[in-house]
Amino acid sequence: MKIIYTDVLIIGGGLAGLRVATGVKDRGHDTIVLTLIPPKRSHSSAAQGGMQASLANCAMGEGDNEDVHFLDTIKGSDWGADQEVARMFTHCAPKAIRELAAWGVPWSRVARGDHTVIINAKKETITEKDEAHGLITARDFGGTKKWRTCYTSDGTGHSMLYAMDNKAHEKNIEIHERLEAIALIHENGRCYGAIARNLMNGELVAYVAKATTIATGGYGRIYSVSTNAIICQGIGQAIALETGVATLGNMEAIQFHPTAIVPVGILTTEGCRGDGGLLLDKDGYRFMPDYEPDKKELASRDVVSRRMTEHMRKGKGVSSRYGDHLWLDITILGRKHIEKNLREVKEICENFLGIDPAEEWIPVRPTQHYSMGGIRTTYQGESQTLKGLYSCGEAACWDMHGFNRLGGNSVSETVVAGMLVAEYISDFCDKAESSVNVQSATIEKFLKREKEKIEALLTKKNGEDAYVLRRAMEKIMMEKVGIFRNGDDLQEAVTELEELYIRSKNIEVFRSKSRAANPALVNAYRTQKMLKVALTVAYGALLRTESRGAHSREDYPERDDANWLKRTITAWPDENQTLPTVSYEDIPISNMELPPGFRGYGKDLTIHHPETKVRQQMVDLIKEKLEKEGASRHEVQNALMPFLKKLPKKYQKFNERLGDIHE
């Protein structure tokens, strides 16, 4: 029996996991990072477009600050987000990006002088100020008022992840690659670590820790077509769920990205549209202005994806053997721009489509992209129900994205959450209550259980084929829990998934019986876990009879604040149940800085909560009063919804901006 002790166990070596690791290490705690793959290969590296942080350096970002970023984020979330968390996030994003700049990310910079850009299909000239020269620049992204998305060409995630991993090397952080967490060790509402399986030799290892952090990313691969890496299978969420104690939040909130290439589903970044690319239909007609005259191609992601689907349903899609699609036209940006700022896009088009995007249009359609839901935590990243279990990054729902996250807010979230959660975890580890007093019998029990599960998969006779179940699940999710949802389809989806889940208990690994590296075995146990995750998504979607953000019900097109201003909480308390247990957590309006309002897309169908008006009046009153008194924006903010105190001390200071210095 192999047991490894450490202070902080981190499951996941993406941006979020690595940032937590460096943070706790800095605070003097021992840490081990488990990852399926070398950290630099994590899916964070795929983020092309950029990271949102309100630096306000570039001309089109002038006047930006935390307040504007906060506003965009909450609107984007369709008021589903936790506003305090969103505040904490927007406050820390500039710090995170500056830290990364010092750690080696070569952010693209502002160049003084005139630049020609494409805005709304027209060439315009932007003049960058002298004093901004050499500072981090930003580009336009969907759903934002200002140009706020900072980037490194179109390899933002890559350069961030590399800088972060290198930092981890510098700090001598122990990283155990190809170790997959397959269960959490817990007892009496307290998490003590995880059981992990070595994917190279099959060995099971128990990692025992004061604090365990799940930073395993999203669960997009429960869909058959997704922009996610193929390891984004929701195993982190599943093992939390399988404790029966920890809960998941808003699992039904799934984002579809408007522009993934057809058929493989590889993403072309939002930067394409941010930089001026257009969406065209089969007649080469630019249709977005008809639907969203204001933001057009740069409306929020969920909106653009729905509009595209609507347009295709009207028969305006280009038909192909892989189904309908639309065109993304970036030829108007010119070869030079494409080869410099959208090079990955160019490479992808060349390698996977065999086309030159400077000459030809790119076939695209909306594709599963991001999981807003995840392990439900407090603002400190700790599970609400399982002590000692933490989570952050895409894996978590702490909840700053609500029902739709803004492009560029996600990599930003990973590093900010990583920064913060590392401090909270360190605080926890500094306290006596964190000490691990778990009996070795308990650890052994978990090890034994996992071992038996694996043996069962390998020795079962006449069982089910995991691949068959998995493909069926992916298809159901794609067809019935997609962009537009309705009660009938969802009901079918839940019934069918439940059936698959029951069958999955009887999975057999055919032929390939190795106990060491064995992809068939891995697929088998992951399929069982993925089915649970899929059920939480489909079931949550079925029960939520409203449309909010990315969750769009054709039979309930209204956003129903009166009944649904809530977070979906899913749990799986009993091994034997075949559907998750769903409950709800209210999102209180009474302390909102930005009470629910109209997002500004399409017709306003919101059914308002009676409290909204009350709160709005109060907010207006406070604002008016303080502004009259000449209070600063920080003071106004503080009066509406104080949050600074919740931040670790070292991150409470205000951010400096160019404007502050030169005014």
């Binding site: 590296s45 010092a102 080696g104 070569p106 693209s108």
Partner: protein, 247 residues
């Protein structure tokens, strides 16, 4: 491929070996897969695993040519399998794992551990001797062109193609390879890294470093990210020579 044409039947020859099985030895195995439109080796291998042999080991993560997991020898040349379209290849396709790296099984290699070792050896992080960083203040400025130039070298995805494509490192495994040299070039260019030329010399000023490179340029020709390896190694060689002669 037009709808009328009969799709080709691809013959995929895979070098198989399970080091965990004492009875196994490296051998070739052939699978037949019907070609489809826009098919990549990622799809081919997935189909083989799902329908023909579920024990076949290989690594894909992003399947989009971004993460560097799936490098393997395709007809003898190292490349990223996920973005290799079958229509650009003959019917007979030979696949083998990259040499030099620890073999996990079949086409799966442990290049990550190797890269981790390399990163530690070359200390591929910003060496900033300054005091505490103040992240509330404006960031340090950098010339836009310089930032672009650094990113250009930062694009390496640690796929290991250049290592597998370099005859020198095959013979002399202590050689840092193009991937390592490129990293040093990247940090040398970066004004935030305060290491001196002498310190860089200590890292790569020997036969295992830049002077070990025999300018075979396999690296340059197989790098999937088209990094300017040739000219960066040359640059380092000049710089290290100068440093060496001075020192």
């Amino acid at each position: 491929m037009s709808e009328l044409e009969k799709p080709r039947i691809l013959k995929i020859h895979v070098l198989r070996f399970d080091p965990h099985n004492p009875n196994d030895f490296p051998h070739m195995e052939t699978f037949e897969v019907e070609e489809a439109d826009g098919m990549t080796l990622y799809i081919v291998l997935g189909e083989i695993r799902e329908h023909l042999d579920n024990s076949l080991k290989f690594d894909f993560v992003c399947r989009a040519g971004i993460c560097g997991s799936c490098a393997m020898l395709v007809n003898g040349r190292p490349t990223l399998a996920c973005r290799t379209l079958t229509k650009k290849l003959d019917e007979d396709i030979t696949l083998a794992p990259l040499p030099l790296f620890e073999l996990i099984g079949d086409l799966s290699i442990n290049s990550g551990a190797w890269m981790q070792g390399l990163n530690k050896r070359l200390e591929t992080w910003i060496h900033d001797k300054e005091q505490e960083l103040n992240i509330n203040k404006l960031e340090e400025r950098m010339e836009p062109e310089l930032a672009d130039e650094i990113y250009e070298l930062d694009r390496c995805i640690e796929c290991g193609c250049c290592v597998a494509g370099c005859g020198t490192i095959q013979m002399k495994p202590d050689f840092v390879g193009a991937v390592g040299l490129n990293k040093i070039a990247r940090y040398h260019l970066d004004p935030r890294d305060k290491r001196t030329d002498e310190e860089y010399y200590e890292l790569i000023g020997d036969e295992n470093g830049v002077f070990g490179c025999m300018t075979l340029l396999g690296c340059e020709d197989v790098c999937p990210k088209s990094l300017p390896l040739q000219s960066k190694i040359a640059y380092l060689r000049r710089m290290m020579l100068r440093t060496g002669l001075k020192g």
